[in-house]
């Protein structure tokens, strides 16, 4: 499943819309991840505060969405854009790839809550594909 030119356009357009609130959206997406899929908290045992309003979770979520923003800028070669992160996830973080789908879901829900009707089925499709691509790239070097 590859990104069409139209998918890329929709992803870029959405990004421009949400960029001013990226930190907030990223923080909320990660907050939703640990609330909706509590097993994901196992990756954050080094955070003192794992409540829904945890500033550590919010900060980390902002970081994650920032990296996704990098992938948006380099959408024609996500593999190159995320190469370092790909290595980090493979050799250091070793987050089970199943969790990338879970975060993709909570990010889509957060985008939907922020954008409402603007998060059309086509925009949803483009982001679902894009996040699946990001997940593939991040798990590329696992084995």
């Amino acid at each position: 499943m590859t990104l069409s030119a139209h998918d890329k356009e929709l992803v870029a357009k959405t990004w421009t819309k949400i960029a001013p609130k990226a930190a907030q959206i990223g923080g909320e997406a990660l907050g939703r991840l640990i609330a909706v899929f509590p097993q994901t908290k196992t990756y954050f045992s080094h955070f003192a505060d794992l409540s829904a309003s945890s500033p550590q979770i919010k900060a980390h979520g902002a970081k994650v969405l920032g990296a996704i923003g990098q992938a948006v800028s380099g959408i024609d070669n996500v593999s190159a854009s995320l190469s370092k992160l790909s290595e980090l996830h493979a050799y250091n973080l070793r987050v089970d790839p199943a969790n990338f789908k879970l975060l993709a879901h909570t990010l889509l829900v957060t985008l939907s809550a922020y954008l409402g009707a603007e998060f059309t089925p086509e925009v949803h499709l483009a982001w679902d594909k894009f996040l699946a691509l990001v997940a593939t790239v991040l798990s590329e070097k696992y084995r």
Partner: protein, 147 residues
């Protein structure tokens, strides 16, 4: 038997009371067919579902979305004994409709996203978590009779 906290019951039923079954059902099914186009294989009799615009405007899709969401309402009414309550519906999906149960998860994700679009900030992480659990329970009940 699923254990529901009072908080979860409240989150689910309070939100449900505000759901426009026809509207949310239609939107969720439209999304399923657009975002996961291979699901169109089950709807050959619906006429033109060849692109996003056609799907969004298709009367049969809208009607069926309402039907599906009505069942979600039934599920909520039977949330304490859903496996039993959904025995017939599960058999129907397996033996008559031949739907791959993986698709239930795709529909559930679409429903969650439509709820977020509809309710915005009111669809808090807590409410989202309760609904995710309700959706998981529905999926489990619907998949139970497959063999």
């Amino acid at each position: 038997m699923v254990h529901w906290t009072d908080h979860e019951r409240h989150a689910i039923t309070t939100l449900w009371a505000k759901v426009n079954v026809e509207e949310v059902g239609a939107q969720a099914l439209v999304r399923l067919l657009v975002v996961y186009p291979w699901t169109q294989r089950y709807f050959a009799s619906f006429g033109n579902i060849s692109n996003a615009a056609a799907i969004a405007g298709n009367a049969k899709v809208h009607a069926h979305g309402k039907t599906v969401l009505k069942s979600v309402g039934d599920a909520i009414a039977h949330m304490d004994d859903l496996s039993h309550a959904f025995t017939k519906l599960s058999k129907f999906h397996s033996e008559t409709l031949h739907v791959d149960p993986d698709n239930f998860k795709h529909f559930g994700d679409c429903l969650s996203i439509v709820l977020a679009a509809t309710f915005g900030t009111a669809y808090t992480p807590d409410v989202h978590a309760a609904w995710q659990k309700m959706i998981a329970v529905i999926i489990s009940a619907l998949s139970k009779q497959y063999h």
